[in-house]
């Protein structure tokens, strides 16, 4: 496994023989009672609550007024890897402009605020360890969203920090391999302009440490990095960053579903 000095425990890679087991980070005490209410499409729960506070009776407004938590999920159990720079429950989603090559345009990481819940992960396509698992977790959400009819409510945004290697073909091949459909609007594989830009965005804005290595053999990875997935709600507020280890396979999907349902 690798370890970096600093405030981050790094992506734990055990070559191919032993990997790691994620700890359930779920705090699913139940979906908010607001889930049973019907909200207009593309209408944030916070905005809806705010509107109610103005127009509804004092009793209702008073009750809802206590709900000033901008997130659906609880903060969750913080892992040792969650450093100060990683956005966490309640933080605003960092806003940065990055190219989305397969869609031939530049998007902002907060471009979908008010429209879609956002899932980000930080990968390089040459990675054969954690990165496919991280991207596959997002692909699983995309696939479920397509199958279950909420695709317009989510967008998955893997970000590569290996822009020199990850050309359009690599981004597409990697996306296809992990089960994503990269041509859909629900999948934007983001690529910074160069390594400096990658560091500015991935480390500077999202607190994800990565470092290029000098592989000694073919199974050594050319980067070591923090394994992380960030889930932000449609209001652009981070619900959770799963950092330091790959979460249980169904955790990201289940948590995303909980957020989607809470905003319906």
């Amino acid at each position: 496994m690798y370890s970096l000095q600093g405030n981050e425990v790094q992506h734990q890679i055990a070559h191919t023989d032993v990997a790691y087991i994620g700890v359930s980070d779920n705090h699913r005490a139940g979906v908010s009672s607001l889930n049973t209410m019907t909200f207009p499409a593309r209408y944030s729960r916070r905005a809806f609550i705010g509107g109610l506070a103005v127009t509804a009776s004092g009793a209702i407004a008073g009750c809802l007024g206590q709900d000033d938590d901008p997130t659906v999920l609880s903060p969750g159990e913080l892992s040792p890897a969650e450093g100060a720079g990683i956005p966490r429950n309640g933080d605003e989603l960092p806003s940065v402009q990055v190219k989305s090559p397969l869609h031939e345009r530049t998007v902002s990481t907060d471009a979908f605020v008010g429209e879609r819940h956002v899932l980000l992960t930080y990968v390089f396509t040459r990675c054969t360890m954690a990165c496919p698992l991280l991207a596959a977790a997002l692909a699983m959400v995309q696939a479920d969203a397509i199958a279950s009819g909420y695709e317009d409510d989510i967008v998955c945004m893997p970000i590569t920090f290996d822009p020199g290697y990850d050309d359009d073909e690599q981004l597409r091949t990697f996306s296809d391999a992990v089960g994503a459909d990269p041509d859909r609007e629900s999948w934007h594989f983001l690529r910074p302009d160069d390594p400096t830009h990658a560091e500015e965005i991935v480390t500077g804005n999202f607190g994800i440490e990565f470092r290029e290595t000098e592989p000694e053999d073919e199974i050594d990875m050319p980067f070591m990095h923090t394994s992380a997935i960030t889930l932000a709600n449609v209001d652009g507020i981070v619900e959770r960053t799963y950092a330091g280890r790959v979460p249980e396979t169904t955790t990201v999907l289940d948590d995303t579903l909980e957020v989607v349902q809470a905003f319906e």
């Binding site: 191919t16 032993v18 790691y20 994620g22 359930s24 397509i146 396979t249 289940d254």
Partner: protein, 174 residues
């Protein structure tokens, strides 16, 4: 230097894994049994394409995999050797993928991968992610063994040798 770091990190992760069992619904060594579920094979070695998983009366070797997983790919020849060595009246052997088969991954893609890598036993899709969720799977390959009464007796991640896998089946009562 880096190797030592790797070993230390492995130990840390294994420690984490031990703690993680408490969070899982099923854990090895408990007397709780897993309720069998009927699933359809994506590919079957015979005409029996419907499975009871795990099957009461036989030890079950369940292998979680993904077609993008390089370790899963390299483990296939070992699994094939195990399949050749077992008595299938005593052992049920199934590989299961949690990939989004039927949506963005086509069944033919999995079957092609299976054929290319020499799979000769049942392979199926974990539809609804039932077993993935119940067993708290976080990585692939993940190896799971149930005894003949459907108790979870082993769960681990990564590569194993043929002898290690056969030993796990022996420990489960074959």
């Amino acid at each position: 230097m880096r190797r030592r770091t790797l070993i230390a990190g492995t130990a840390g992760c294994l420690g984490l894994g031990v703690g993680a069992w408490a969070a899982f619904r099923h854990r090895p060594g408990s007397d709780a049994t897993v309720e069998p579920v009927t699933i359809d094979s994506l590919w079957a070695p015979d005409e029996d394409e419907t499975l009871q998983l795990p099957e009461t009366g036989r030890v079950t070797l369940l292998e979680f995999f993904a077609t993008w997983c390089t370790t899963c790919r390299s483990k296939m020849p070992i699994l094939a050797e195990v399949h050749e060595s077992i008595d299938e009246t005593e052992v049920q052997m199934v590989s299961l993928t949690f990939e989004p088969v039927g949506t963005t991954v086509q069944p033919e893609d999995v079957i092609d991968w299976w054929d290319e890598h020499g799979g000769t036993w049942h392979v199926a899709h974990d539809e609804g992610l039932h077993f993935t969720r119940e067993l708290g799977v976080a990585n692939v390959p993940t190896t799971v063994v149930f005894d003949s009464e459907n108790r979870l007796v082993h769960q681990s991640v990564g590569r194993h040798s043929r002898d290690e896998l056969l030993g796990l089946l022996d420990d489960a009562g074959t």
